[in-house]
């Protein structure tokens, strides 16, 4: 890469900004205080939730049909997952196979007659992921890339099941931003942080909504009580 040209362009841009706004203070404390003051307004500038309790608000949002292509259920413990997954597969007449994320808490469950390691690139795959967080405001689940979490697991399958521990469901996106900031302070920011709120959809042809444009067509969230 041409470093000289890169530096010249950088300098040109910074000089042009300084020339356009020469009187602005660059006191870091002032800048940070102004930035924090803006965030203090968030409490009054965000939508009301459908319940005070975050998990209940998330469930209400999904059950009200406000999260495209998504259903949800609450199970008492992880051991109930295979049964829920079987019901999901039966509902959509799918074969007894799914790609389960490679995390011990999911892999160690008794999947009985289900095959749990299928080729992700098959178009009609069912994927199952362990979400880090849920967000009630938007009906989202959040996944972080890691050695155990291929991001493509959430985008290649036509059907996606996300498992969220109930205690990890947050009220607002702002709450997740705070957590992301704490993760960054620990120097543990993952490559990708994805907030997924519904399924892959498009309205590009005549404004008609079609689900499953590139990624999942159907999504199911299972909230686990005891985690």
């Amino acid at each position: 890469m041409d470093n000289k040209r890169n530096n010249e362009s950088r300098e040109r841009i910074f000089n042009a900004i300084k020339a356009a706004a020469p009187t602005v203070s660059m006191d870091l404390d002032i800048i940070q205080k102004e930035a924090q003051d803006i965030l203090a307004e968030s409490e009054f500038a965000r939508p009301k939730l459908l319940a005070e309790d975050a998990p209940e608000a998330l469930v209400n949002r999904i059950n009200a049909g406000l999260v495209i292509g998504t259903s949800c259920e609450i199970v008492a413990s992880l051991e109930d997952l295979p049964h829920s997954v079987n019901q999901f597969l039966n509902k959509y007449s799918l074969p007894p196979e799914l790609k389960v994320q490679n995390v011990p808490k999911l892999q160690s469950l008794n999947w009985e007659s289900l095959s749990i390691d299928v080729d992700l690139q098959k178009d009609n795959t069912v994927g199952m992921c362990w979400a880090e967080y849920g967000v009630a405001e938007t009906g989202s689940f959040v996944v972080h890339s890691s050695p155990e979490m291929p991001i493509l697991l959430n985008f290649l399958p036509l059907y996606l099941i996300a498992v969220i521990p109930k205690s990890k469901i947050l009220h607002y996106m702002d709450d997740y931003a705070l957590i992301a900031s704490e993760i960054a302070n620990r120097g543990e920011t993952p490559r990708n942080m994805c907030l997924i709120s519904g399924v892959s959809g498009t309205t590009d042809i005549e404004g008609v909504l079609v689900q499953g444009a590139h990624g999942p067509e159907i999504s199911h969230i299972i909230i686990v009580e005891d985690q």
């Binding site: 362009s9 500038a45 900031s181 490559r191 959809g201 042809i205 404004g207």
Partner: protein, 475 residues
Amino acid sequence: MHANKPENFYQNVTEALAQPDLKMIIRRTTDKAETKRAEAIANFPEFEKARQQGQKVKDHTIKYMDHYLAEFEKNAAAQGTIVHWASTGEEASKIVLDICRQHEAKKVTRSKSMLGEEIGLSHALDNSGIERVETDLAEHIIQLAGDPPSHIVWPAMHRSREDVIKLFREFHKDPTYSEEITDLVRSARRDLRTKFLTSDIGISGSNFLLADSGSSCTVTNEGNAELTITPPKVHIVTAGIEKLVPSMAHAVPLLRLLTRSATGGEITQYITFHNGPKRPNDADGPEECHIVLVDNGRTKMLADGMEEMLRCIRCGACMNHCVVYKHIGGHAYGSVYPGPMGSVLTPHLDSLKVANKQTHACTLNGRCEEVCPVNIPLPKLLRALRAESWQKKYEPLTNRYVVKAYAQLAKRPRMFQFVSSCGVVFMKLFSRQGWIKSMPFTGGWTRNRDLIEPESKTFMQQYKASKKAKSSGGR
């Protein structure tokens, strides 16, 4: 379809108005967007406060842009991202091409980015012989059709289902013969799936750049950005410098505003924060990540007192609510950015000399400002550009003489009233059943619609008569 140019605006408009179905096709999408946005705002009583907060986030970042740019650069580099700077669009395209060549890329996938269009990246890639695969469904459609985008959110809104059927049957390897929209989307899914997985480089734009972490954020409903970025070995982001916000927490209010204003949804299905290349042992992701930060006229906007335009989050609400856009569509503007926001942006990205006519294609009804999620005073900015265009003598001589003559006349009330009376009589000569189909000097109007017959008397004559009637009635 040929690519229109901004300097040919009037000719482009004439051609657009002559297309019988265009207005109906545009309104099918924009009217729906307008209705859905209204519903979304009605369900969000705090919208006005959110709008003020969103405006503050953008104004604060613009005020300290050099500080936040330096922060972003430092933090992105710490994540392992290679940061590039480009003063112009041409420079930005060259940087992207150089990276592609360095990696001997044969195929690149792209997720929708208006900045990519702005810097001419599509053409640059095509001319370099690298296979370019547009992965957003609308961009895929217009790539097959060879069209430029006509809207910043729905770039293929000018294409009907029949057009899409023909295109997919011609270009897809395993096309559908169904005419159902669901089957058409499946056909695109099949066609693009292998391309996602075999691409050498993924190129994306960025909705937000987070200064405190050096992250870029993509927002899509299709999920094509993640599929574009994750499988290839290299990820390149091209982003305008105005995309900066201080942190993720500052991006959140803008995310709330963006989707509601763009499509009327409450939130976009996929919001992903990208933090450099894959970490050691990550299951997937690119091994190398580049960000090209582009100026291309943005600092000129700062210098020209147009910094309010840098608040724009590219939601497209202004064009969905614009009476002019709804009649002529996006291509007539001859620019990547159509509608009200485009009429302000294009003179800075290109030049006012070639794009001054667009600034006059506005009724100044103020709808764009009313619906803008970050309170950009678009009518005010358009008026400022009109004034500048006048001062720089970009207006045609005839317009200048007519305006000067009008100014002289307006200073002389008696003369003004006399000429107005003559005008009324003159117009009456051409009137039939209340309408004027054609008349000298009004071809620009009557070419596409009739002119209503004027009242028999001028405004001042009617005003005096009304005043007289009132005073005699009072006696």
